[in-house]
């Protein structure tokens, strides 16, 4: 039914596609690139114990109709990066895969908190440059996309399990992530569970970040239905 394109800014720096899991088959190119990018990022680079089959990293949560945010080149629609969102009232990674990151008996389950996972990006020509503090532009736009999904959907917070690299990105773009539970080594990397607020504060922080990059803010009016 609805696939919302967040078309970005007058400079058209990036374009985000919101793809519901139940409609993923309508976006074969984006999905193919996303599952391959995930295999490279999480299996090869980070050394997480994820299952890779035929070059794809996929897990049970991909079968649970999640929401994907996919960043593409606004001119060519070439894949740039993606992340996955799951409601915490249903099955999710922190509760079902990484419960040991939280203290005993603690869990995150709320109507207005969704979980972000599998954030990754490719580096290709044509992307806007990194910011002064070295944050990847595509990752920061994906996080901005979460902020916009939060408004459409009525979310107040995002929870996520991430490595030190993403922790740094979240801090750099002004998400102000609060660590919960205890960091643990998973595979080859230290992993953290954290929460951050969505809403006005996040959007303001991201706006400041964009200004630093010299990119104009997306116009919310450009929300388009395809």
């Amino acid at each position: 039914m609805v696939n919302i394109l967040l078309s970005r800014s007058k400079g058209d720096a990036t374009m985000l596609k919101l793809i519901e899991g139940s409609r993923a088959s309508l976006f074969p190119t984006e999905m193919d690139a996303m599952f391959r990018n995930r295999a490279l990022t999480f299996s090869e680079r980070l050394g997480w114990e994820v299952t890779v089959r035929d070059g794809y990293e996929r897990d049970v949560f991909d079968d649970a109709n999640p929401l994907y945010l996919v960043s593409v080149d606004p001119r060519t629609h070439e894949y740039w990066g993606s992340l996955r969102l799951l409601p915490t009232t249903g099955p999710n990674m922190l509760r079902d895969v990484f419960p040991y990151l939280l203290d005993d008996g603690e869990y995150i389950e709320s109507a207005t908190i969704w979980e972000s996972s599998r954030i990754c990006a490719v580096a290709v020509d044509g992307q806007p440059q990194r910011s002064r503090n070295g944050v990847n532009f595509v990752l920061s736009e994906l996080i901005a996309g979460i902020g916009e999904v939060a408004i459409i959907t009525g979310l107040t917070q995002i929870v996520s399990v991430f490595d030190a690299r993403i922790y740094r990105v979240l801090k750099a773009v002004g998400c102000n992530p609060q660590l919960i539970g205890k960091p643990r080594r998973i595979g080859g990397t230290m992993s953290y569970a954290g929460l951050f607020d969505t809403g006005e504060g996040l959007l303001q922080a991201l706006q400041a970040f964009r200004e630093e990059l010299g990119i104009e803010a997306p116009e919310a009016k450009e929300l388009a239905l395809a």
């Binding site: 039914m1 609805v2 919302i4 919101l18 519901e20 899991g21 139940s22 649970a64 109709n65 999640p66 929401l67 969102l85 799951l86 409601p87 009232t89 249903g90 099955p91 389950e109 709320s110 109507a111 207005t112 999904v149 408004i151 459409i152 959907t153 009525g154 979310l155 107040t156 239905l225």
Partner: protein, 253 residues
């Protein structure tokens, strides 16, 4: 439109969840709709196994009895796009965003408006721990601009109410028992029984003995904790053990 207050709605639902409120969920939803200025609220839970078949008589809705009867008689369940999309969606969706190219769907929405369902609607998908999918729909008679402002100011609250309604429904509708798994033969026999066939008919259709048909149906009835075959057919359809669509093609004359 200003933002709504959901405290009294939350109290009503929490009381239901805790077992202090034995009121029918439908009555609770009516009170909540009045509290928050909605025309109607409808809750539907999709069966975990055959959800795509929209076999979801499990739910509670505040629509008029005339509309609910009409919905059933016209078999709107088979075309209702709120169900078709809501059974798998994760993002809340405004009914205006649903595809209406099909004249039958257009006619369905017109008919719904004419029967007081409301001019505008939004549905909030809900997932729960067991992986079950539900959808809570809110309708209103506000003008489109008012409705846009209402949604902007109240999405967080609609999410909260929706999840509470889902939890209250698990208590109130006693939906939390584990899913029933029928064998292929049991399911086939039950579908034919639902289509109005006798034991002898089913035995001829499936080319199995009369006794086998009886035993498959009896096992199915037992698995569904039902008193008799009629009861079992009703419960099986209501809980999605057999898909409502399986009744298509059967004559109701």
């Amino acid at each position: 439109m200003a933002s709504i207050t959901i405290e009294s709605a939350a109290i009503r639902l929490t009381d239901t969840i805790l077992g202090y409120n034995e009121q029918d969920l439908e009555e609770t939803l009516k009170a909540i709709a009045a509290d928050i200025g909605m025309a109607h609220i409808a809750y539907m839970r999709f069966a975990p196994d055959k959800s795509s078949d929209a076999s979801l008589l499990t739910g509670a809705r505040t629509y008029s009895v005339q509309w609910q009867t009409r919905y059933f008689l016209k078999q709107y369940i088979l075309i209702d796009p709120v169900l078709a999309h809501g059974s798998k969606a994760v993002l809340p969706f405004d009914w205006e965003e649903l595809p209406r190219d099909d004249p039958a769907i257009q006619a369905f929405f017109t008919d719904a408006v004419n029967h007081g369902v409301g001019c505008t609607g939004i549905s909030v998908p809900v997932r729960n721990r067991r992986g079950a999918y539900s959808v809570v729909s809110f309708t209103s008679n506000h003008s489109r601009p008012e409705w846009v402002v209402f949604k902007k100011n109240n999405m967080v609250k609609l999410q909260l109410i929706s999840v509470l309604i889902d939890s209250a429904a698990s208590v109130n509708l006693k939906l939390s028992s584990p899913p029933v798994k029928l064998s292929k033969r049991e399911e086939q026999c039950l579908i034919w029984a639902a289509r109005g066939k006798t034991y002898q008919d089913i035995s001829d259709i499936l080319n199995i003995s009369f006794g086998s048909v009886k035993s498959y149906l009896d096992t199915a009835r037992h698995k569904l904790n039902c008193a008799n075959l009629t009861h079992a057919v009703g419960v099986a359809i209501a809980t999605g053990v057999i898909p409502a669509k399986a009744l298509q093609g059967s004559s109701f004359k």
